[in-house]
């Protein structure tokens, strides 16, 4: 089926070419970082993880979101998602590859990456994160490819495909849970040391991921003349709405615990995000934007009248994605390090090189998703 990716119109090829250029630029920037070391980033002794690891955190959620299609389709036999489920699985593949790349570019000694496997360390959450991410990726490759092949041949997918798809459900939950444990299991970082971290991660994954997917699918619908199915879109929008409600609710739980208990350590990071600390207010405009957009998206998504109107839905999804990205892809990691271990503030801003490398990785993800989705659309069209 791979050959389907090699035939396309001019628009398809110029998009691929554009992505390749971005990847090339990102790779060039990475060569500089590889030679100079992480000194080219804005990270520091105090903020020792930042933009890269934050992108990993966000994209793990995007990867996990495929399960919002897989679960209803394979477990509850919700037929309306039949046309979409493979897109979710293929997007997960792209998202996980981006996750892995963001880990690799964050390493000080990337050539020693395989020490992770040579010295398996069950007490380190990072080891388990690598395990579940790769496991989930493998499951999605197998399930996605096999079910698409079955569709190409016009036969129902094999029993084992369904079994693996169902196995992938707990895997999807685990990738985000384990990623949350990276943060939630370490002492002395109040902002992260919270039992609801994994639940928050899952809630934000199950709204942000499907929102990105739905937006991308709408583009596919336009450029490839491909029908998503009205009911499938409506159901997915409902799922996104419920998950976003959970996401906002969980965040408010954090606010209650921090501010009602009135313990300085628990409040400090949140204060930094919303009003600045010791004169450092880098995140303040972003976080107010995120809060306003999050509430606005809920106001538009909860009433069925606005949710079912396509232009409003598109707008709501876009602002939802921005809000959740600011929360996970910008604030969560950095605010965990602020204030630092000495109650001081070391501000962080990503450098141009950091952003260029990140852009390159996003372009790689876009390329993978484009190619895989192109194959899926071509097969589905030929089969129909």
């Amino acid at each position: 089926m791979l050959e389907k990716a090699l035939t396309g119109d001019k628009r398809y090829w110029s998009w691929i070419g554009f992505l390749l250029v971005l990847i090339g630029i990102g790779f060039g920037a990475y060569v500089v970082q590889y030679q100079e070391g992480l000194v080219v980033t804005g990270m520091s002794r105090d903020v020792s993880w930042a933009f890269y690891i934050a992108q990993l955190t966000y994209l793990v959620g995007v990867a996990a979101s495929g399960v919002m299609l897989v679960l209803p389709y394979y477990l509850h036999d919700y037929k309306k998602f039949g046309n979409l489920v493979v897109f979710g699985e293929f997007m997960a593949i792209g998202a996980i590859i981006m996750c892995l790349l963001f880990v690799i570019v964050d390493l000080g000694q990337p050539q020693r990456l395989f020490n992770l496997l040579i010295h398996p360390t069950p007490n380190s959450i990072l080891f388990w994160d690598a395990m579940v991410l790769n496991g989930y990726m493998l499951l999605n490759i197998i399930v996605g490819w096999a079910s698409l092949e079955a569709q190409k041949k016009g036969v129902p997918y094999a029993k084992w495909v369904r079994v693996l798809a169902i196995v992938s459900v707990p895997f999807a939950f685990s990738i985000h849970t384990v990623t949350a444990f990276l943060y939630a299991g370490i002492p002395g970082r109040h902002f992260w040391l919270t039992a609801i971290m994994a639940a928050r991660f899952l809630a934000s994954a199950f709204c942000a991921g499907p929102a990105i997917m739905l937006l991308l699918l709408m583009i596919v619908e336009k450029v490839a003349n491909f029908k998503l199915g009205k009911e499938a879109v409506a159901t997915l929008a409902k799922i996104i709405t419920y998950a976003m409600c959970g996401n906002v609710f969980f965040f408010m739980l954090e606010l209650f615990t921090a501010f009602y208990s009135n313990i300085p350590g628990h409040k400090a990071s949140i204060v930094y995000l919303f009003s600045g600390l010791e004169g450092h207010a880098e995140m303040v405009p972003f976080f107010w934007t995120a809060s306003v957009l999050a509430i606005l998206s809920l106001c538009l998504l909860i009433p069925s009248r606005t949710r079912n109107s396509k232009p409003v839905l598109i707008f709501s999804l876009i602002i939802l994605v921005i809000a959740t990205w600011i929360d996970k892809g910008l604030g969560l990691v950095v605010a965990g390090f602020i204030p630092n271990m000495f109650e001081g503030v070391t501000p962080y801003t990503p450098t141009g090189l950091e952003l260029t490398i990140s852009m390159g990785i996003y372009a790689i993800g876009a390329l993978i998703v484009t190619v895989l989705w192109k194959i899926a659309v071509s097969v589905k069209k030929a089969a129909a």
Binding site: R45, D46, S48, G108, R112, H119, M341, F342
Partner: protein, 256 residues
């Protein structure tokens, strides 16, 4: 046919043995380098190494300078300024050093005095718990130490350490060296480093460099021995530790 199969099994068996032996050697080569050495007879040993700092005998940052210099010269700690700096032993104010022990109306002297900070060599080190490659590990004598050749530079230990005791080599550390101590290895960029309680000096029967430079104001010894000098100092004086409520059980004590 049978013959071929037997031959195949022979070859396969020998290959498997070879691979196993190879893997064994490879694994052995990855053991912490201490395990390959026969220790010198004069080496110092303890059940659990610990440090007691008599802060009453230090009055200004100047007083700590010889200790810091001794440490940083001994271990080729590079000098970079700014937020990407490397430090093994440094000083900070009371509020920064003991952020959970804020007290109103404190003695002026204590409040404005600098306190020396270093790796606490915790009994329950979070950095060891989170390290994905066992590059950071705890020795039997309680010293938390790093294998710089195994560190992948993921910096999970920095996120995990509640004391900010670890530094990351954002750049080539050799660029920050004015002079090089040839007896101690320099590092490469991309690895984490920190105080090692002078494990290399203990192996030669010497006290840690900062302890030696302190001229008796910093005590070092076996916390596991009730008759040791450090235990006596702890029994006779009021001491505090950094962030004891986190359950890491630091091995560095401060006499106030």
């Amino acid at each position: 046919m049978n013959n071929t199969r037997r031959n195949f099994l022979k070859v396969a068996g020998i290959t498997a043995l070879g691979v196993a032996a190879g893997a064994g050697t490879a694994a052995a080569s990855y053991l912490p380098h201490y395990d390959h050495m026969t220790p010198k007879p004069e080496r110092l040993h303890a059940k659990r190494w610990g440090m007691v700092i008599d802060t009453r005998k230090f009055h200004s940052a100047e007083d700590y300078k010889p200790l810091i210099e001794a440490c940083h010269i001994e271990h080729n700690v590079p000098e970079f300024s700014g937020p990407k700096e490397i430090k093994w032993l440094w000083v900070d104010s009371y509020h920064h050093a003991f952020p959970m022990a804020h007290n109103e109306f404190m003695s002026e002297e204590v409040e404005h005095k600098p306190f020396p900070l270093l790796c606490n060599h915790c009994e329950e080190p979070p950095c060891v718990r989170v390290c994905p490659t066992q590059a950071t590990f705890k020795r039997e004598d309680g010293i938390v130490i790093m294998d710089m050749h195994r560190c992948i530079g993921c910096r999970f230990c920095m996120a995990g350490c509640p004391y900010g005791s670890r530094s990351f080599n954002f750049q080539d550390p050799r660029k920050g060296l004015k002079q090089e101590n040839p007896k101690y290895p320099t590092r490469t960029k991309g690895v984490v480093e920190k105080c090692n309680f002078c494990a290399e000096r203990l192996a030669e029967g010497k006290m840690p460099a900062c302890v030696e430079a302190s001229e008796g104001k910093v005590l070092f010894g076996d916390l596991g021995d009730p008759n040791s000098e450090v235990r006596r100092a702890l029994a006779e004086n009021f001491t505090i530790r950094r962030k004891p409520d986190l359950g890491t059980n630091p091995s560095v004590f401060y006499i106030i």
